[in-house]
């Protein structure tokens, strides 16, 4: 690989939107006080609280912003790991800089625990590759699957689109329990579920609710696009990159035992397919098109969604199976 090619690849990864969004985390989480100082002890304690598992203790909005930023900061290292695994970047060219950055960002126990809580397995792999000891037990890093750099590039070119897609962004916010139309008494998820399960009942903010439908479809479309181009060997590694969103989409919870189907959580794909409202509107659209002498059959759109969803469910199954045993264990 030429020097200019290498530089272009590294620059793009380093300066992507994920890095921009990760700035806050670097300021709050990535600044280590002098080793052994009293402020270091204090920071350790504060970061452990800030970066706790959300299923153990609810997260405040102000904390959520920093944690979201931390997720984005970690995205860069997930991308680096995939880039190295696929031969898109040679490890030797980035080892030193990644070593320095990971040592800084993950200096605290809280940050390291966060990797385990949220299955940032690929970051743990990367740390092992570059020689940063995060206090985990011996971990076996995936072999470098050379001859797949083009596949990584394709994946990256679609992932970038996530950052310029308001509809998808809105849906991810919904999955993450952000409140756009509801309030603490009547959350967006409850309103949306009720919207889908009724055919004609009037709702305030119906436009926003339809945007959720479009956003859910967009998420499945994007994930199906990724899954389609992956070999079976590749799937779990790319799948881990999107595990958080697939879990949220299909009603899984992340706990100490890994990802588990939580029957109290909604499987949103299933809800969409079963939705009375969507069926009702598809029928209306069909009637309208018939009046306009069009032969288009809107109902087929739901079949297309089901077909894409099938691809993504398989992607999710393969990913979960591979990581049934959590490879991140503290010594």
């Amino acid at each position: 690989m030429s020097e200019s090619e290498l530089k272009a690849r590294i620059d793009f990864l380093k300066h992507g939107r994920w890095s921009e969004r990760g700035q806050l985390a670097w300021e709050v989480i990535g600044k280590r006080p002098a080793a052994g100082s009293r402020s270091e002890v204090k920071s350790q304690r504060e970061l452990k609280t800030l970066l706790r598992a959300h299923w153990k203790d609810a997260i405040y909005e102000s904390e959520g912003k920093i944690r979201d930023s931390f997720d984005e900061a970690l995205t860069l290292y997930q991308l680096y790991e995939l880039a190295i695994e696929t031969g898109y970047l040679p490890l030797d060219e980035v080892r030193q800089s990644i070593h320095g950055e990971l040592s800084q960002l993950l200096w605290s126990e809280g940050a390291r625990r966060y990797l385990k809580y949220y299955s940032y397995t690929s970051v743990a792999f990367l740390a092992k590759r570059v020689g940063v000891d995060l206090g985990f037990k011996e971990i076996t890093v995936p072999r470098v699957r050379n001859q797949t750099e083009g596949r990584f590039a394709s994946f990256l070119s679609q992932h970038v689109l996530w950052y310029s897609d308001d509809i998808l962004d809105g849906w991810l916010g919904f999955l993450d329990d952000y409140l756009v139309i509801g309030d603490l008494n009547d959350a967006d998820k409850e309103i949306f579920e009720s919207f889908l399960n009724s055919s004609t009942k009037k709702f305030e903010e119906e436009a926003a609710l339809w945007d959720f439908v479009a956003g859910a479809d967009r998420l499945i479309t994007r994930l199906a696009e990724v899954a389609d181009m992956l070999s079976d060997d590749d799937k779990p590694y790319y799948g881990m990159f999107y595990a958080y969103w697939m879990a949220k989409m299909y009603g899984y919870d992340l706990g100490d035992e890994g990802f588990l189907r939580d029957k109290e959580q909604v499987d949103w794909s299933e809800q969409l397919v079963r939705s009375k409202r969507i069926r009702h509107q598809l029928n209306r659209a069909s009637e309208e098109l018939k009046k306009n002498k069009s032969n288009e059959v809107p109902e087929n759109l739901l079949d297309l969604f089901v077909a894409k969803d099938k691809i993504v469910r398989n992607f999710w199954d393969v990913t979960r199976k591979q990581f049934e045993t959590d490879p991140i264990q503290f010594r």
């Binding site: 793009f12 083009g150 590039a153 070119s157 119906e206 479009a214 087929n300």
Partner: protein
């Protein structure tokens, strides 16, 4: 031997070049609405990097994937200009094409990208010198020749606006190109007339175009499709998204796009 793979995510292009000798043919790929320069084509870039040289026909060509951010595109002409400027760079042997003197060109496009290609073929003044002579074939997949009430939205999003009581604009206002995709919109009609005129009376070479349709293409609306003039057509059984996707199957990877590439002469 695997090919050299250049990837410029920031500039939205990737280039797959033979290592052992300088090919004289270049295929340019152009994606559609809200696609990306690589993922639109699935595994294709990786497949060509790894396997093109073991196939007699694929080995003769180098491959350039170009793209754009859909929200920044206002007209078909804007896409035409992207293709034209890339070919101009290639013809002048500007980097990264400094090693190759390309004489042959083929253009493969999907959905909205196909209208940009048609625009380029009509706008002779926009074509870099020698482009028309170099053009061997334009292969257009899922071309919304008649627009679509719901084009660009894709999937379930297609009827969401209908449900909202607004016929066709779920997209943020910045997606100006969406207007040009509506049926009977002036830009599309103008392109059709322009295309017909150039084919009938033009002094330049329009170039052979091949249209690939999907029997299951609900985005373009296959059932209401009326062909434009002089196209060689082929109908696949696939839907709008799948018809250009190359799914991973290692050396045995297949796909409509690969079939069309193999048929290039």
């Amino acid at each position: 031997m695997a090919r050299e793979f250049f990837d410029r995510q920031k500039e939205h292009w990737a280039y797959v070049r033979r290592r052992d000798l300088a090919n004289e043919g270049l295929v340019i790929f152009v994606h559609g609405f809200r696609g990306s320069y690589l993922s639109t084509w699935g595994e294709l870039a990786n497949y060509l990097t790894e396997h093109a040289d073991s196939d007699l026909n694929l080995a003769k060509w180098d491959y350039l994937f170009v793209g754009y951010e859909t929200y920044s595109i206002g007209t078909f002409m804007a896409i035409a200009q992207i293709i034209a400027s890339q070919w101009e760079k290639a013809a002048k042997q500007d980097p990264p094409f400094e090693r190759n003197a390309y004489k042959d060109l083929a253009i493969f496009a999907h959905s909205l990208g196909t209208l940009g290609v048609r625009q380029l073929l009509c706008a002779i003044s926009l074509q870099p010198q020698g482009m028309a002579d170099a053009l061997r074939k334009a292969v257009l997949f899922g071309s919304p020749l008649n627009g679509s009430h719901l084009a660009g939205l894709g999937g379930l999003g297609r009827f969401v606006d209908f449900a909202k009581g607004k016929p066709a604009s779920l997209m943020p206002g910045s997606f100006r190109i969406l207007d040009a995709l509506k049926p009977e919109n002036p830009e599309l009609e103008m392109l059709h007339v322009w295309s017909k005129t150039i084919r009938t009376h033009g002094k330049g070479k329009f170039g052979p175009t091949r249209i690939i349709l999907g029997a299951d293409d609900h985005v373009v609306g296959r059932s209401t499709m009326v062909s434009w003039e002089d196209n060689s057509e082929c109908t696949t059984s696939m839907d709008h998204r799948a018809m250009v996707k190359v799914a991973n199957a290692g050396a045995n990877t297949q796909g409509a796009v690969i079939d069309e590439l193999r048929a290039l002469r």
